[in-house]
Point group: C2
Chain length 252, copies 2
Amino acid sequence: MSIPLKHFKKGSRKPELPEDGVLRFYSMRFCPYSERAALVLAAKKIPHHKVYIDLSEKPDWYTDYSPLGKVPAIQLTAVTGQPALVESLVIAEYLDEQYPERKLFPTDPLQKALDKILIERLSPAVSAVYPVFFTTNPPEDALPKFEKALDIFEEEISKRGTPYFGGQQIGMVDYMLWPWFERFPALKHVLAEKYELDKQRFANLLKWRDLVAQDEAVRQTALDSGVHAKFMLTRQEGKPNYDVAFEPLSNL
Amino acid sequence: MSIPLKHFKKGSRKPELPEDGVLRFYSMRFCPYSERAALVLAAKKIPHHKVYIDLSEKPDWYTDYSPLGKVPAIQLTAVTGQPALVESLVIAEYLDEQYPERKLFPTDPLQKALDKILIERLSPAVSAVYPVFFTTNPPEDALPKFEKALDIFEEEISKRGTPYFGGQQIGMVDYMLWPWFERFPALKHVLAEKYELDKQRFANLLKWRDLVAQDEAVRQTALDSGVHAKFMLTRQEGKPNYDVAFEPLSNL
């Protein structure tokens, strides 16, 4: 019984999933929030069945798992009532507490709180850059705003003085921030003029990015910036094609 | 050295706060997110200095404490660098872990995750009712939408079968939800026709509300629905007056 590698759409038959007590993970391949959950599952090597959901035409049966129709969701089939959890940070923290062998959040409550606040502080950068990714006519000041919002991350990684935001080892804060840093390089494909973050201004942040890119869980989960760009263009055209994730790279 | 009981405005002098290692709490008296933090501080009897911030005309010095100018914020003056924490849920969880004597979140990771998701699920009710509180021309379907969004809370408290969402004792989930349930009865003041939640449809939820209203931390923190309504009217007029919280009740 294998789950087809595609995004399930409205009208598609509900996949038959084995009743084996293994966690079920509902995701969309290009959703950065889903990727957060995927990274924690990979980092902790937690067995799971993966079901991809087409977010523009959701299957009717999906609300059985995620009442608000959101991804990511994880369904705990080994627990009575098979409850589903949503919200990437709630899922991440649950998995970290439930599978504590390789703890990803700091055990110090203050450091954990500061890391969570840092995670939230990426929002202005994401809000600034999204119109560039997903619309054909982004505001003129989008990129300067994006860069300004990233300054605090360059500042913070420099202040912390460790290779990762999480310290000497990769931690939850790195995994929660990563999905967007994986997407930012797609700018060099979607913009007419090739774009990269300034190597001086973001020296330590780019070092961090290169280091995280080599992490095993990240390598298992990440998509090439060209694939991200391909998806972005389908969304710009108003016809998001989630399944481009599964096409061979040579089609780029 | 006592801190004046008022909301500090742009141009106001920075209050001199004692360097006594006591936690500083930055709040706005009508902000439900600030109230969440206030409830946890009260429930755990954590000593603190309170500074109220005028959110429509923030004092320039406030970003020294809360870089994004947000309330609530708590500043940890006993810690090197005196870091400040923001985001009500981050603050609540930090306080719960740092002052574990009376634990408010469940220790079971799954129940904690489910409680956090329930907290998020209040958003549609809040979004529906806010225009009624704060604008002079709310959409016609605001109240039906509000009630529909509350149905899941009636369902959930009935399903849990305990007096509190948190169980036999009041818990974090109750405190995180409460500030909005404290404000909902202001509808009977701001609407031309007196409005109350239906006593049949929301039987268990209203029982919960009455019970939580009697909690010691809630009684120390809550404002009367008439005071909330008074503030709402000042906001409807485009001139939010935060200090009505400190006027004698007889002025209502």
